[in-house]
Symmetry: C2
Subunit: 347 residues, 2 copies
């Protein structure tokens, strides 16, 4: 029953059903002003020709696409993969379609995506995560009416509605916890890629300070995101050949924590027993790996729901200039951290 090259159109249906295309359109859109007879004939014509209305034509005529764009920074990252899954489900419940775009942590790609999104005439844009260069986004936002809501991204000096985690507090509370377990020599492992990480680091130092620990004992190890992705942690070596090695590592994400764990393993150090490891995000896998990972949980679903609520409100014409919501992370203690008992832990 292959239909040949040219797709069947509303005119084909009208002809076969012996009605006007207006009437076909009416049954397509469930109008109640169609006679039973016409309705039946149209329906059967549709079935006979295996007709599906063109979304393209419909969108053009209706001047709306009924779709919302989501741009994530890296779909390979489970955190974003899950976000896209959740956003799609939430939007479906509201009758919207989702178009996902992957920015690959690259500003130039993000720029392209914004162009595409604009030409698609989507009705709203959700962006989750992001690197620090937001110029494309800012310029796009200031030149367009498209409702935009950002998650996990701060754009200073511009009024874009934003849903964020209190990353500084997260960093501080994680560090507080490690210190409360007796750790005095804590290494913060990160990249300086996102504002979120910068704030987590800030919180790290705040906590040290609050506990009267000199800044030098709060060691920071930074390397490019790319090296983390490849699992290249050689840069950590110097910190662990010294006799006064850190007794705890606080990584700026679960993903990095897992790489730190592998590094320690290869150096013959045991997680928890020798070195406590703490993550950030509470990725699904954090509770599965052995030992399971202590981490700061990000209330991702709540944040996404809030963002979608905001976006839908904006689309509905609502005003939310200056809308900023900040969520609090939650301490999750698992197996990868342990109290430091006695001085034997350091040396």
């Amino acid at each position: 029953m292959k239909t040949g090259k040219a797709p069947v159109t509303i005119n084909d249906i009208a002809r076969l059903a012996k009605v006007s295309k207006s009437t076909v359109s009416r049954v397509l859109n469930n109008a109640d002003t169609v006679s039973e007879l016409a309705h039946a004939r149209v329906k059967s014509a549709i079935r006979a020709l295996n007709y599906r209305p063109s979304a393209t034509a419909r969108n053009l005529a209706r001047r709306r696409s009924n779709t919302i764009a989501l741009v994530v920074q890296d779909i390979r990252n489970p955190y974003y993969a899950f976000a896209s899954w959740f956003v799609e489900n939430e939007l479906r419940a509201h009758g919207f379609q989702l178009a996902v775009f992957n920015a690959d942590n690259t500003a130039s790609l993000e720029r392209e995506i914004l162009e595409t999104v604009a030409s698609m005439r989507v009705e709203g844009l959700l962006s989750v995560g992001g690197n620090r260069d937001a110029t494309a986004l800012v310029s796009f936002h200031s030149h367009s009416d498209l409702p935009i809501v950002l998650i996990d991204r701060e754009v200073k000096g511009y009024d874009i509605p934003t849903i964020n985690l209190d990353n500084a507090q997260g960093g501080a509370r994680a560090t507080d916890y490690l210190i409360s377990q007796g750790h005095r020599s804590v290494l913060f492992a990160t990249s300086d890629f996102t504002d979120a990480e910068l704030h987590r680091r800030e919180g790290f130092f705040q906590s040290l300070h609050a506990h009267g620990i000199p800044r030098q004992q709060g060691i920071v190890f930074t390397q490019e995101e790319d090296k983390w992705s490849r699992g290249d942690c050689r840069g950590l070596l110097p910190f662990f050949i010294s006799p006064r090695r850190p007794t705890a590592v606080f990584a700026s994400s679960d993903f990095k924590a897992m790489h730190v764990i592998r590094f320690l393993h290869e150096r013959g150090l045991k997680v928890a027993d020798d070195v406590s490891v703490f993550g950030f995000d509470d990725t699904p896998i954090a509770s599965v790996i052995v030992p399971s990972l202590s981490t700061m949980r990000q209330p991702q679903q709540a944040m996404i729901k809030a963002a979608i609520g905001l976006l839908l409100c904006l689309i509905g014409g609502g005003d939310s200039s200056g809308a900023q919501r900040r969520f609090l992370p939650e301490l999750v203690i698992r197996e990868s951290t342990r109290p430091l008992c006695g001085p034997s832990g350091i040396d």
Copy 2:
């Protein structure tokens, strides 16, 4: 510089640049038959009004969308997330856009997606993975001209171009390896959700048989995919309270292997030392976790490239009825498996 409610159109540009919309269209499409003057005026009008042509209108007029649909079974699964990343990059190189759809392992959702895809007038469809109910896909394929290529899915009795892994061989070679390490009591942990898993299990039994191991010593533990997702492995308990517990577990995916590892950990059993664990897929995380996971590597990128090549060929009008390619998995030995030394391993 907000533009007000109605988006600017090609007519606005034509008016401002004092040319016809034909000419605007020409510069939009980089036609070389435009005078310098006209070109410059159009360009500056476009910039002045921040104009972006409507992809919807363009697609309708051109009768092509330039986009390809990818349907994955569960975007939360890193395997699929990576696939979508890779497909997008490959397609970009060929000038196509990608629209990703998530079937959530649900036949009814897959059906809906197929409807959407059809109405979008995409130019091709790639499907990766899939549960065993392919009726929607088969019926769709037989009623439409849309080029379709399947990856990791077998549809028997219908001629849909397919790229598959030789899962039976993968299952057999993995089991061969475990047996070669002295394991005689191997547990195969799986769900019976996909054909791939069924074939892996088949290979498992083939290998046992080839090594003269009675079927009863090849234990199979099956539970629904859903329980695996939730990490509920209580069903494994009976196998491990018996004194003659398995010395090796072969899981039908890396993901399941990780849950098995957690289960063993909670029972006080050490991976590799007490029980060898073997996965399937070689997910990125397999080499990061501690101990790193022995597994069968699936040449995912090569398979995707082959699938895209096939799809592009079909789109170009090529004929590939009966196109079936089968790739071979590769044995990857890491830390989670160990030779069984001496009878002490069994009891």
